[in-house]
């Protein structure tokens, strides 16, 4: 298969040879480092794909989705500030702050025509970026994004569930679930989970997994947008997919059958297929 032109913009738990990206903070006096992963970045511009992933549950090493996608695109996945190997700047306090940070990030690397792919928290961040300034973006792929609220359609309570219970709600596929439940995390991985949990609370605890000021601005998103949802998502029910689709003009919604909240874990090939055909349609 021909390599697509495109890069992945990675913020992740593994610092790579790409090194860290530094963003100026308020008044240029404070900085935040975000390590970049994986090493498939070739520095080619334009057509950069930015994948901003959910950090609570994502395993990047050995993840089929990332491997497959990296074979087709240049991929950049930064660790969000306060997650993974990133530092925890006190001045980044909210998802809107993260969006502003990433606008700095895109500018610092001078990335153009970026395809942004975001899952869960990552989708929320991606939408906040796109409502603010989409000048450097070519398209948006939102995979079961958090970020809005539909009254009367409650979200799963990720913070109160025990680990096994959380896994059962996250995944539809029993084989995936068995794999997750049988994993024996190392001390380093437990430390990382603890750090990621604190970061998730910082950005998502209250208001729980949404920004009251996001949905009213979604009409400003004027780049090609696709929304992808697992049919069996028990964290953010698929009704939310319909709402996102309604609010973003021209967007399309794709439901993946027999799939929970994390399609990149449960249906990596299907997800890559959707991304590929969408991005081809956008770039041709």
């Amino acid at each position: 298969m021909p390599r697509h032109s495109g890069h992945l913009f990675v913020m992740n738990e593994t610092a790579s040879d790409k090194g860290s990206v530094v963003s100026n903070g308020p008044l240029g006096t404070q900085r935040s480092k975000s390590p970049v992963f994986p090493s498939t970045w070739r520095g080619r511009v334009p057509a950069v794909s930015c994948f901003i992933c959910t950090a609570l549950t994502v395993q990047r090493n050995g993840c089929r989705f990332f491997e497959t996608l990296s074979a087709k695109f240049d991929v950049l996945v930064p660790d969000h500030p306060a997650f993974g190997q990133s530092d925890t700047p006190n001045w980044i306090r909210s998802v809107p702050d993260l969006a502003m940070f990433y606008l700095d990030f895109l500018e610092k690397l001078d990335l153009q025509e970026v395809h942004v792919v975001g899952s869960s928290l990552g989708g929320w961040i991606a939408a906040e970026i796109a409502t603010r300034n989409a000048a450097r973006l070519s398209s948006l792929s939102l995979i079961s994004p958090a970020g809005i609220r539909i009254k009367g359609v409650p979200l799963g309570d990720l913070f109160i569930w025990a680990p096994e219970e959380r896994a059962r709600k996250l995944y539809f596929d029993q084989a995936v679930l068995d794999r997750v439940l049988s994993a024996k995390p190392s001390e380093e991985e437990i430390d990382l989970q603890t750090k990621n949990g604190i970061a998730a609370a910082k950005y998502c605890w209250q208001p729980r997994l949404y920004d009251p000021d996001l949905e009213k601005w979604l009409h400003r998103i004027n780049i090609p947008t696709q929304i992808i949802w697992g049919a069996n998502d028990q964290i953010i029910p698929p009704q939310y997919g319909n709402q996102w689709q309604r609010q973003i003009t021209g967007s399309r919604l794709t439901i993946i059958d027999k799939c929970g909240h994390l399609p990149h874990v449960e249906a990596p090939d299907e997800l890559v297929g959707h991304l590929e055909s969408f991005l081809e349609g956008v770039t041709t």
């Binding site: 025990a162 437990i190 603890t194 949990g197 604190i198 998730a200 910082k202 605890w205």
Partner: protein, 346 residues
């Protein structure tokens, strides 16, 4: 040495077997378990118990704050304190404590404590706490802001008590153009402040600082842990260049006395085991929600989470570890004296 009669006010008529079907007796236990007639009886009986503390010679009678739980029916401890003030003359009234990070306007805490201090003509002693982890689920407050909000709320309350109002307060979480306390506290500059804690290093250091010297009360811990944390407090005080007085060192433990050791054991068994095995336990996610403890503390706790007392404890184990003191008057007195000597209290 001073003695405090401290009440948690649990809901006693709980159907324990049915309640165990829920992940906790906090936050998620349906309030259909609560029968108002039985609850009202509990309140009446508990207030009688506390009021009797004055007759029995306790130095302080005390209450605390907890939310959405059968463990304690005092989401608003000031209401109970107000009733106690009306029914007592000399005993001090303790509120140990109010959970500062959980409120959006800490001035209301300053105001209400000032009122109670005036109503009691200076008999009030107060505590400041962060609330337990489950209360961040039940109030929606972000546990990642818990420490920041605690310190900022504390500073605001102290300033409101000490400084002339009105003044402006410009915080990150709390901002007021007009902080102007009416009434001011009865005591000058304000009621004594105690810090109940399970012993986090940050809290010990903060409480022992010379500008505060807040008495530190180790709650519901083994004798070994009590000794360790009180020593930690002493060490901090030494580092700050002063010697901690025994008035700064406190310890909260369940104590039950009957005519004989055997009788005490028999009578205390069921309620004490309910306290530690039914009312108190929370799963990890509710006990330490993310951000409630610093990253370093949370990492350390995560590694020993099995040792966090989540297993069932029998009354014999609780007694052996010194978490509870149960027995005849002679036994109980000896054990208290031993703890006193061991911890250098006077």
């Amino acid at each position: 040495m001073k003695f405090i009669l401290f009440h948690l006010m649990p809901y006693r008529a709980l159907d324990f077997a049915a309640a165990r079907q829920y992940r906790s007796r906090w936050t998620v236990l349906p309030n259909s378990f609560y029968d108002p007639k039985k609850g009202a009886d509990d309140y009446a009986s508990y207030i009688e118990q506390l009021v009797s503390g004055e007759r029995y010679g306790f130095d302080v009678i005390a209450v605390n704050e907890h939310h959405q739980t059968a463990y304690g029916m005092m989401p608003a401890p000031n209401l109970i304190a107000s009733a106690l003030i009306q029914r007592t003359k000399h005993v001090k009234i303790g509120i140990f404590g109010r959970a500062l990070p959980l409120v959006n306007n800490p001035l209301t805490i300053a105001e209400e404590f000032s009122m109670l201090d005036n109503l009691s003509r200076g008999r009030l002693v107060v505590g400041f706490v962060r609330g337990i982890g489950a209360e961040y689920h039940s109030t929606g407050m972000n546990p990642a802001h818990s420490h920041e909000r605690f310190h900022e709320a504390h500073d605001l309350i102290i300033k409101a008590w000490r400084d002339e109002g009105p003044f402006a307060f410009e915080g990150e979480h709390f901002t007021f153009n007009y902080a102007n306390l009416w009434p001011r506290p009865y005591q000058t500059p304000h009621p004594e402040i105690w810090i109940p804690s399970q012993g986090s290093a940050e809290t010990i250091q903060w409480a022992a600082a010379p500008e505060r010297k807040y008495p530190f009360v180790v709650t519901f811990s083994t004798a070994e842990a009590v000794e360790k944390y009180l020593n930690a407090y002493r060490t901090e005080a030494t580092k700050f260049g002063y010697e901690a007085s025994s008035n700064q060192l406190g310890w909260a433990a369940p104590i039950y006395v009957a005519d004989t050791d055997e009788q005490a054991l028999e009578e205390a068994r069921v309620p004490l085991e309910h306290l530690f095995n039914d009312y108190l336990p929370n799963p990890w996610e509710m006990l330490i929600p993310p951000g409630y403890s610093s990253l370093a503390s949370a990492k350390a706790l995560a590694r020993v989470r099995k040792g966090l007392g989540m297993e069932r404890q029998t009354i014999e184990q609780l007694i052996a570890k010194g978490t509870a003191i149960i027995g005849s008057p002679k036994t109980v007195k000896e054990k208290i004296m031993r703890m006193r000597d061991r911890n250098g209290a006077r």
